[in-house]
Subunit: 348 residues, 4 copies
């Protein structure tokens, strides 16, 4: 197979660094360029110290971007939506990791991102980047918009139940708990270690913008929503979503297990985690650090029709760079798990 | 005022140690005895190293217990309910910190604690130990049953709303997140540092036994419950409860504030925390370590009738020993805040 | 006793916040003013959230500073040395918490702080602020320069041995390990949570500026030094110094214990911690959080003449604000332990 | 190349789990059996949850052990030394990860391990398992004794300097700082999360048994030693050694760099880390989690002849399982880096 050339725009952030880590060990691709305006000319290992001696790549400016086969965009929200034509000229295939092309409905941008989308006509050209839901559309696609990290955790947890019409769509409550790497690599008061260490910080009790993606992918009309709150923890990587859904039919755990098995039984990166005993009987983000798995488990409340669904993933992997590489593999017709087989560590 | 003599039964655990720390600096009481079968004869500072040079007290056996004015019982669940007559002979006033006398309904014991209560006739003699709800009954009471740590966080967060009939009682969902000291001082696989560090562990998605106390204090009949899940975090002290309630009337945040002010405005240990900006604009357990505060905040979801109420406390203080000392102060007619004024640390 | 009025200049930092926390509960003083240019006009609880409901004090500008009895200066290094005359006009007694007046030798400033001292004539007017060494000079003193946090840990660990001439002064090696609050409250890449969490960072293998204080207080001439390295850990509060000294005489542990007892046996804030068993048999900073203790322990190496001395303290307490209040108490003839009796927490 | 069959004895511990994680992705070997008496018959993913869906291997009893090509022994200290004949019958090649065959001098066993070695004649048959020092002896070797984790960090840091005779052998002081996974997977009071979290615990100020390996490999006679102390931190994985050596010649940093380059310039798993700026300018264990690197850096003290050498590694990788796989690769003539290329994560 001829080697494919990929480049990364905005490669000095945490997501860019994670993409580099994965793609440097991908047997079918070669990293051609990595851009960073701030670090142009400097080795990528200056900002990604885990890549010392692994690569001698240097950052270049986005102005120097050459044509390539696949381009990953890791820019802050609100930039790619303005500069897409420039990037389209450089690559036939683009995977964008920001929120700029995740929502199909242009009306949603002013609501959730605070400004209208400058090019609503592009939104329909992007496939929403969760392979477990849009794998077919991804094959051969030119543009993929990688999903939000919290959104991925929630959508994967709930998709089979909503798709099967098993839950009361007016009652679902979700709490997502996540680590500090979600916030990117720019220091702030919120990320200052004495303040963030051991924090249990209710940073977005309502109005988290990932709700828009979740509503879109679960097929919720304006009438219903997912009642979501987000809490920041003192960990670095990892997300756990705890979703409380209320069943419309009296299903027992075995029946629920069968639903999940039907949807995810063949999925390489979803594991149904539900054991009778042990401390890892439900999904736990810490053992997923560095891996592309999304683990999903659940428990029925015997006192009501509530079902608690728990999902966990690494926000920089299945929640960002890992899922983007998975999408690239599908897009290019490569083996889907290539470069994504790291199983996670225990203990850690 | 004549000095009162207090003793602690089961003083080698974390709650017993915290009681010691508080009572050693309480100007109106003197600690007479502290029992521990395992450490009888040894200095209390052997197991509570923060008390080195602070006290020369030694543990004694419960068999050696002398009469005293107030007796704190810090035994594991299921012990005090069998041995109450023995303790009653030793002290006129008893504050029990286990779950043995928290539930008024004897039928609830087999459901939540797995065995029938051996002396259901005693249950009505204990006042449930949340001062903000039962202060009047505590004054001069002989027996107080200190509330569960998670239960305290949830009850204090929701009491005014339920009391005022402002929420749909069928829909409330609560997630409590807590630290490892909740589990006591006995090592186990679950508490082994390599496994617990940085954990986000869904340890009780349904059927947490504190639900029974919450239902009791919020006045929920068997028809309704609080849909509660509990998650264990890699912190040592601290609980945060995130409660999602659905309002029966279209109240704005100002109106909700007024409700909380009416109930808690004069409370010495409840702070309504709701600021427009900053990283501590909602309750945060880490700045409550060592303090007796329960901080409560909230946010209205503008897209629905959901109200998110957030409460935080130190599980060993307002969730256990601190609240028990507060109860003792009330019971004895002392200034309620005595020995409980430590404000918490920042940063920490 | 008439109430004394104290003010704090630079009260928005971590040291200023800790001073506030202590002085608000000090029965003999009243806090008159707290300055912060950035937060002038705002409540101190805005930046010190643990003080919510504890005080209604607001920050003012340093320009508005009124006369007071004691003034604490918590400015960044290099400021107080230029503005001392202004502060002297405001208060008869000053306690400076920066490094500006710690070194008696003016020649040391360009070496360790990078610039000459603008007023070398003031240096001799300040008492170096470790009470265990300079208590007599502190009584009635007008100016005290509070010691550095790492310096305090190292000096207290080694002072008796050096004073008694028991160690080879050419061979001492010390490693200090400390938490992130040492770096103050300004966010930076080094303090960014994803980078600092779980860090074991060799940030100053040589040339730590606290060496100058240590040499001064241990009486080391230019010929000898303490070979010190500093490592930053992922904790927030706490310092542990591990000092390796080489004995000039074959002393056993009992003899060494006697030396420490002779020097520190009556000290209210030094505990000799050396037990035969248990996990807290040596000093441990975590149980000192919020307390003013410096715990000191040691172990003789039976294979050589090495003695390992271990000391631990809370860098914001005995390493800064706590020691400053202790100094104030001595300076004013108050009971030395006033407002400093918090014993630390366990577990935490 | 024909596939080689490897088995692991004692596979339920942390080191065994790490070996499994590595060998499952090793293209030249197949894992035949993994023994655990406690978990015989159960899936390995029961105790190593990161391996869920990665393998269906089950534990068997050591009694069921079949012949294989390479046998890894991960038993507690003191067991393999008694049972070696049994294992020798099962495999031609053995890599032992305990301390049972690390010391060439039989006299050292009673001193450091408390009992005489039952088969001193076997000691000379084992190659000490640090490839950077004993690579030639490993090629084709039958028995390898994998080095201690702290010992590896210290030996790799100091070997070039000692080998070149550049340091005063009487003065070296080393402090090793390590995480909780070093202690294995058995819960204890010392590993109980409320006690271990955020700990800075001086657990072995003198007499750490890895000193014996360090003396052996650095060629120290009984006259000289390395003055080592060990401190336990609240991290899970990772070791940092800070070594203070005193130079016998006035070498500058460039000259020292050249020495390290000469010894380690071609080493695939040693990186010399010494940058002018940035927060990762010295070795940092956290970015080595899961990787097989040992990073080494240094700084000259301009005020004396001290050189501070800093090394970092993952105790379960280069300090145990990773180094054992590296040894196996050399032993079998495979590419040395096979299955060991994971570069570590950032941030983490």
């Amino acid at each position: 197979m001829p080697e494919l050339q990929v480049s990364i725009v905005g490669g000095s952030g945490y997501t860019g660094g994670e993409l580099l880590r994965l793609l440097l060990f991908h047997p079918a691709v070669r990293i051609k360029q990595v851009t960073s305006e701030r670090f142009a000319g400097k080795p990528v290992s200056r900002v990604h110290p885990n890549l010392r001696s692994v690569t001698r790549l240097k950052f270049c400016s986005v102005e120097e971007l050459d044509p390539c086969d696949v381009l990953f965009l890791c820019l802050p929200h609100g930039q790619a939506m303005h500069r897409l034509p420039y990037f389209r000229q450089r690559a036939e295939r683009i995977i964008d990791l920001s929120g700029d092309f995740r929502l199909r409905d242009p009306e949603a941008y002013p609501v959730w991102y605070g400004t209208p989308h400058p090019h609503p006509e592009w939104l329909s050209q992007f496939v929403y980047g969760i392979p477990e839901i849009h794998r077919e559309a991804m094959r051969g696609a030119r543009y993929i918009s990688s999903a939000g990290c919290n959104a991925t955790a929630v959508i994967l947890a709930l998709y089979p139940l909503y798709r099967e019409g098993l839950v009361d769509p007016s009652r679902t409550v979700v709490e997502v708990k996540g680590g500090s790497s979600e916030g990117g690599n720019t220091p702030s008061e919120a990320s200052h270690h004495p303040e963030r260490n051991d924090a249990v910080r209710s940073y977005k009790p309502t109005r988290h913008r990932h709700i828009a993606e979740i509503e879109q992918e679960l097929g919720l009309s304006g009438e219903h929503t997912v009642h979501l709150s987000a809490t920041a923890l003192g960990i670095v990587r990892g997300i756990m979503a705890t979703a409380h859904v209320f069943l419309t039919r009296p299903l027992d755990e075995k029946a629920i297990w069968q639903v999940y098995r039907r949807y995810y039984g063949q999925e390489p990166f979803i594991r149904i985690v539900k054991e009778r005993q042990g401390i890892y009987r439900f999904p736990e983000p810490k053992i997923l650090i560095g891996s592309n798995y999304c683990d999903i488990g659940f428990e029925r409340d015997p006192r009501s029709n509530r079902l608690v669904v728990i999902s966990a993933l690494d926000n920089l992997m299945k929640g960002a760079a890992g899922q983007a590489v998975q999408a690239m593999n599908i897009m290019l017709g490569l083996e889907e798990t290539t470069a994504l087989q790291f199983p996670g560590l225990h203990p850690v």
